[in-house]
């Protein structure tokens, strides 16, 4: 009985209709939260006493950093589920995570560089967090590269799933090694907000941004996953129904 939800979720038609219904419920709040968070962060929040207005980049940089790590973890988790239970829907989710995660990781890197220039006087410093994000981007690129190199979707799913799992096992090790390496070389101080003393007018927009980016990621990922499920279909009659329903609505 406890597995009933699992099997239901694993069924492509159920997943398809679920994502169809769920995406707007995630997408619209995500949009509102992001806009609200940015408004609060860029307009209402007071300037930081050390970094002045440059700190406002945190409202896009930090949520992007969070989403990049979350998307990689989710991708690896979904890939592992897909490998272990041979679940196509899980593979579809993993495939959907990668491009969104990679683009957000790139955003995190570029905004980090734009923040670095006024703070450190240089666009690129070998800051461990930036380096870690860069490695994460390479993990994503490798994953997508492997996927696109294999024509057969089912083989691509499983091969890239192995890679994602190997990658996620390595993420903590890479993180440790980069931090350790940084501690030896004393690179410029890390971008850091004054965690303890952040007033609510700064903190609330930041939290809104975090939540907004997270919901946004799930919304876009589910839309992509819907397409990926459709690609993995093997002639189930549900596709006909879904496409017919779509035609009527359009």
């Amino acid at each position: 009985m406890s597995w009933a939800w699992f099997h239901r979720f694993a069924s492509p038609p159920y997943f398809y209709s679920l994502t169809l219904r769920l995406a707007p419920w995630l997408g619209w709040p995500a949009g509102l939260l992001i806009v609200g968070g940015l408004y609060g962060g860029l307009v209402l929040a007071p300037p930081d006493y050390q970094q002045s207005d440059a700190f406002r980049i945190v409202y896009v940089h930090a949520p992007a950093a969070w989403v990049s790590l979350m998307s990689y973890s989710l991708m690896a988790f979904a890939a592992a589920v897909g490998l272990i239970w041979r679940m196509k829907v899980a593979h579809a989710v993993a495939a959907a995570c990668a491009p969104v995660g990679a683009s957000i990781t790139a955003v995190c890197l570029v905004t980090g560089m734009l923040w670095g220039q006024p703070m450190w006087g240089t666009y690129w410093a070998w800051d461990p967090r930036l380096v870690f994000e860069l490695v994460l981007l390479f993990f994503f690129l490798g994953y997508m590269g492997l996927r696109s190199a294999i024509d057969d979707v089912s083989r691509a799913d499983r091969a890239s799933a192995v890679l994602a799992v190997v990658g996620v096992v390595n993420v903590p090790i890479v993180h440790f090694s980069v931090t350790w390496w940084n501690s030896l070389h004393q690179a410029p101080s890390v971008m850091r907000m004054q965690e303890a003393a952040m007033p609510a007018s700064m903190l609330v927009p930041l939290l809104m941004s975090f939540l907004g980016f997270t919901l946004y990621f799930y919304a876009v990922m589910l839309v992509r996953a819907r397409a990926e499920v459709l690609r993995r279909d093997r002639g189930g009659s549900w596709v006909r129904d879904v496409l017919a329903a779509r035609g009527k609505a359009a």
Binding site: V162, V166, W180
Partner: protein, 228 residues
């Protein structure tokens, strides 16, 4: 015929077979070592031949060259056996596939990782390392090349059967090799400075043990998928 499907015997035979094959074609496994030596030779030519300054760059130059050489070599780990059906027979041999691939990887390490580690002190001398540092450098490369071979086995398994998979292989393996590079270069640096390099050597050994336990499983899964 006495039926005795001992896993150890099977692995030993794979190891012997791969070594015998390699010795019939010595050119193939000597190439990565030659590549390694050439790349390390390029650094003084491109930068500055003054030994005191070279010494600072030596750890990085050695490890980047070693990393590239082992990536170059690992591409051939499964390719021939994948093409001629040997890997299929391994998969159907009734032994753990991961175990047999570990034996293959071990043979590969003996043919590329070990010569690389032995050549490294030589290259290090050319980069201005003092003689006292050479044992430490040898130890660091011995330990590090184990992880590199194991990580490479995963990448080689994933890209087996992909045409022009070489560039993809580096894209997959190099990010995974970052910890090995960091710890290995640090160990080399400490060795050159004459300090104790026990810390990074332990870390390298830990990476090697971790890789030994998990990488063959991942490589076996990857090769199986590639063989379909």
């Amino acid at each position: 015929m006495i039926r005795e499907p001992s896993a150890l015997h099977a692995a030993a035979q794979i190891l012997r077979r791969d070594l015998k094959l390699a010795f019939r074609r010595p050119g193939e496994w000597l190439q990565p070592v030659a590549f390694f030596l050439i790349v390390t030779m390029l650094f003084p030519l491109a930068l500055d031949p003054e030994l005191s300054r070279l010494r600072q760059l030596a750890p990085g130059a050695l490890w980047v060259a070693a990393l590239l050489a082992s990536i170059l070599a690992i591409e051939f780990l499964f390719r021939e056996d994948g093409r001629d059906g040997t890997l299929e027979q391994y998969a159907l041999s009734g032994h753990s596939f991961a175990w047999l691939l570990l034996a293959k990887t071990a043979a590969h390490w003996l043919l590329t990782g070990l010569p690389l580690a032995i050549a490294a002190p030589l290259a290090a001398l050319g980069l201005g390392a003092p003689a006292a540092a050479l044992p430490g450098i040898l130890a660091a490369l011995l330990l590090g090349s184990v992880s590199l071979s194991l990580l490479g086995a995963i990448g080689a398994g994933l890209t087996l059967g992909i045409r022009r998979g070489g560039a993809l292989l580096s894209l997959l393996v190099l990010p995974l090799a970052i910890p090995t590079l960091v710890f290995g270069a640090r160990a080399t640096q400490l060795a050159i400075q004459g300090d104790s390099l026990a810390g990074p050597l332990y870390l390298l050994a830990a990476l090697g043990v971790f890789g030994l336990t998990l990488a063959p499983l991942a490589a076996a899964a990857a090769v199986r998928i590639s063989l379909e």
